[in-house]
Amino acid sequence: MNANGGDRVLEVRDLSVSFRTGRGVVRALRHVDMAVPRNKIVGIVGESGCGKSTLINSVLRLLAANAVVGDSSTVLFRGDDVLRMNDRQLRAMRGQKISMVFQDPMTALNPVISIGTQMADILYRLDMTAAGKRERAADMLAQVGIPDPMRRLDDYPHQFSGGMRQRICIAMALMMNPALLIADEPTTALDVTLEAQIIHLMKDLRARFECSMLFVSHNLGLIAELCDEVVVMYAGEVVEQGEVHDLFHRAKHPYTQMLLECDPARIEKASRALPTIQGSVPDLIDLPRGCIFGPRCPKRYEPCDASPPGTYGVNAIHSARCFQVRDA
């Protein structure tokens, strides 16, 4: 096994995923290129149906049986192609080197097993005594701010509040000191003051654990708050990516620009008439011939209808899938 893979913990190259359905082939992801550099937090932002979940599931290779992955696609985790791993290699990777925090902490934990047992189970590969595992679990709970951790190990998930449960899920994800942590909308189920606490905790843990993170959210505020780099997805494509300041202040793709404009939190002056994006997301079975965002784009011009745009660089890490960037 190739143990390094350079400065990039995760590198997705030309990833295309389709699903065979009764209605036809749904082209859920098309030619996705993105990477997570070491010790960086990369945010993925996009609206429902943009392919965020399919991308994560591809990284963990948890795709449904009707999924078809493109022949030229690669998902390199520390240099090894996840798409070509055997079951043994996958088991060694999932939950150990890549771990995940899910959206809903209520359903992510097993309700009939105490959290101490659930946490110790993660360490099944390690040659440790049961008492040692419990101690390690209690230590992790303390790290994520659960008071009186040794005693609480014997409690069940329902005995914790929603915010505490998400802290436990984060503690579990960090038990094996993973190289990559994937957080899929980790605060969507939480109230805003708890959300702020969890984000604060994630920043704090990042400083202590040196973990690279893929943070998926539709909340632009959280992306701005936490991430170093941002990947913007629309209808199965990466339409723009770059450093977080570039993305929020110098967005090049019309979709990114409109997404930012639509966020009520970014509109300074209180207003009853809120901006929207006209039209709706295209059918991924029957794609438009030109740019995927073309039918909704106010800046559309001739080249957009003829063929899909490529990805054009703005700077070393900032790029957009838009002819305007090429022609600029």
């Binding site: 609206e47 505020g221 929020f248 202040h249 997404l259 009853r272």
Partner: protein, 337 residues
Amino acid sequence: MPELLKADGVRVRFRTSGLVNALLKGIADPYIDAVMRVSFGLRQGETFGLVGESGSGKTTLGRAIIGLARAQEGSIAFEGQELVGLKDAQYRGVRRNIAMMFQDPIASLSPRKTVRNAIAEPFRIHGIAKDLGEEARRLLRLVGLHEGFLGAYPHQLSGGQARRVGVARALALEPRVIIADEPTAGLDVSVQGEILNLMNRLQRELGLSYLIITHNLPVVRHVSDRLAIMYLGRFVETGATKDIFAKPAHPYTLGLLAAVPEPDPDKRRDKLELEGEIPSLMNRPRGCEFHTRCPFAQAKCRETAPEHRKVAEGRWASCHYPFPDPADARPVGPAAA
């Protein structure tokens, strides 16, 4: 402006255990107060926002107004008519004037009813003989949906489309007031704007008054005229939306506003305003119920509960030491004096 809907000292209690069980276990008071004596008025053509986190009682208050939860104390009046104590059959008439949009747009529609039937249902319940097909088409047009949706079932709708159907259903009987419970929850930002713009247009065209129940502060800032911030079933602060956002008077409001991340990487926060979690309704803190999380709590806060008192023109807050001005957001308590 006259107040169309007026709530005065409304209290909603839920029983937490049976009386026998309570006796055996020695629970003196087997009730929780989901809504604890709140008062407000909704004016004609106005949008009033009820804001709070889970368990703050905002939905229960909305349900009490429309008669889906029983208010044990206080008064709820619509155009002077007392609603507390009405029988279910009597409430039916009230619901022609006050309609509700429920939380989850798809789950709040019956999966076995087509859009046409869902929209026509209010007419049937109220025994109003009309050309239901024509009414359904008219209402769909009003909310900006194509007639082709008439035969669709809820699972065939997107979140935004289902929300529009919910709006059409609420509008069916030409109500004066619409209670909208989390009208934008679960919708993408671009769709969120469409729904809010639709509600705004309908408000202007039909002279509706809205009671919007939400936890979404960025949204409520744009759409509501006045606000009440709820915590553990009480109003901790009420006033004009722009004033509350500009100068929060209650430390909880300040913490809530500070918890919303700004979508700007230059404005990252280092500091956490509110620690801890909302206490259980079964075990309300003594004194000011917010003192367990309040960074400014003083001795008096742990002992005596503050009243919901007037702190400025049109502003009320339940705090012993409200902020006089955001410019120096410090409590004017004994320590500061």
